[in-house]
């Protein structure tokens, strides 16, 4: 069900009683009026538009397949699901993909990074009532993956790599000009409340 995650852009509150949002909110979450031209699955005719408010069906959750492991992503995080879809090319990169001896990105690294992104995005959405922006998902030549955000308020880089058999997320973020920096590392296995709360500034 998606209604708990839809955000009224004017009040910035989630609505639990009805699944709705206005066009501005729709654009915020990655949908736009030209959706049909871009072959989104979303059919605008399916929605009833009343005074700028459109009714959403209640079964628009998205499924992301991580090598057989299915994750359900709320429609409000469609922009993140889109970025994940686009990042599939990373799994197909061969050794020396940059011409400068880059390592092949192991499929487990990609899966760990995407799982990390999904779990934090959903947690921040559900528990902290915030829809964060989609990061750039980029491969690094040392067989690690970067998740990189730039919001109006903050910037954050999370680098996920395999260290001693465990996936670790190394991060640095600040509110630009080195203000309020955070830096550290966390396991990808659990959600760090500290990091998740800070990531609210990536909305």
């Amino acid at each position: 069900m998606i209604e708990n995650y839809l955000v009224d852009d004017k009040s910035r509150k989630t609505r639990n009683d009805i699944s709705w949002c206005d066009y501005d909110s729709m654009r915020l979450i990655g949908f736009n009026r030209d959706s049909k031209k871009e072959n989104y699955f979303f059919d605008e005719k399916a929605f009833k538009k009343e005074s700028g408010i459109i009714q959403l069906p209640k079964n628009l959750d998205l499924e992301v397949d991580l090598d057989g492991q299915i994750f359900t992503v709320p429609f409000t995080l469609k922009h993140i699901a889109d970025e994940i879809e686009a990042s599939n090319f990373i799994k197909k990169l061969e050794v020396n993909w940059d011409g400068e001896n880059a390592k092949k990105i192991g499929p487990n690294i990609w899966t760990a990074a995407i799982k990390f992104l999904i779990e934090y995005s959903i947690y921040i959405s559900k528990a902290l009532n915030t829809i964060i922006q989609a990061p750039e998902i980029n491969p690094c030549k040392d067989d690690s993956i970067d998740l990189s955000w730039r919001s109006i308020k903050s910037r954050l880089l999370i680098n996920i790599r395999l260290v001693n058999g465990k996936f670790i997320a190394y991060y640095y973020g600040d509110n630009y000009n080195n203000n309020d920096p955070i830096k550290g590392s966390v396991s990808t296995e659990t959600i760090s409340e500290f990091l998740a709360v800070w990531m609210k500034s990536l909305a």
Binding site: N96, G99, E100, C140, K141, D146, S148, L157, Y170
Partner: protein, 185 residues
């Protein structure tokens, strides 16, 4: 007929790079080419600053013309192949050494001339200006190097018509290693 002999010991001694100096960093676009066209990417991004074990390779500006940075790239083989790099797929950004040294975790900017022989083998030109920014893979350092280019685009991005040297690169490749980039003057 004189026999060409290859030197194995570098005739070059590293020099001291000062805080007032600048370095060039070359970044490639290959990874971006594999993305869907609809996905815009910041350029450069943090992945372009992942260091090798000995540091991040740069060129000491004082010791090389910008044009020759691109020529050197075009005369170099892709790793472990006999295929030349495409110099048109690279862009170059300039960094003040003084800025680089303000980033916590960067220990040194070192002159590390690359000497592959006299003459150097085809695909492995000598690069006197080659230098290293010494640091380990650290998200703070990579983020700040990346954002420096965005925040200082006018002074950092080296606007150069890469196609203006296509013919020159082609002719130099035809000369194999009989070029100034392979021989020590």
């Amino acid at each position: 007929m004189d026999e060409v002999t290859s030197l194995t010991i570098s005739p070059w001694q590293p020099l001291l790079i000062g805080n007032e100096d600048f370095v060039y960093r070359q970044v490639h676009v290959q990874a971006l080419l594999k993305l869907p066209a609809s996905k815009k990417r910041r350029y450069p991004n943090e992945t372009h600053f992942v260091p090798d074990p000995d540091g991040l390779s740069v060129y000491w500006k004082k010791q090389i013309e910008l044009k020759n940075v691109f020529i050197t790239i075009g005369l170099s083989y892709k790793f472990n192949t006999n295929e030349f790099k495409d110099h048109t797929l690279f862009k170059v950004f300039e960094f003040p050494v003084a800025f680089i040294k303000t980033i916590e975790g960067i220990s040194q900017v070192l002159h590390a001339p690359v000497f592959n022989g006299d003459p150097a083998p085809v695909g492995y030109p000598n690069i006197f200006s080659h230098s290293l920014v010494a640091y380990e893979n650290d998200p703070e350092i990579r983020l700040k190097l990346s954002d420096y280019c965005r925040d200082n685009n006018n002074s950092s991005f080296c606007d150069f018509d890469v196609h203006s040297i296509d013919n020159e690169v082609g002719k130099l490749r035809d000369k194999l290693n009989d070029t100034p980039f392979h021989k020590v003057a």
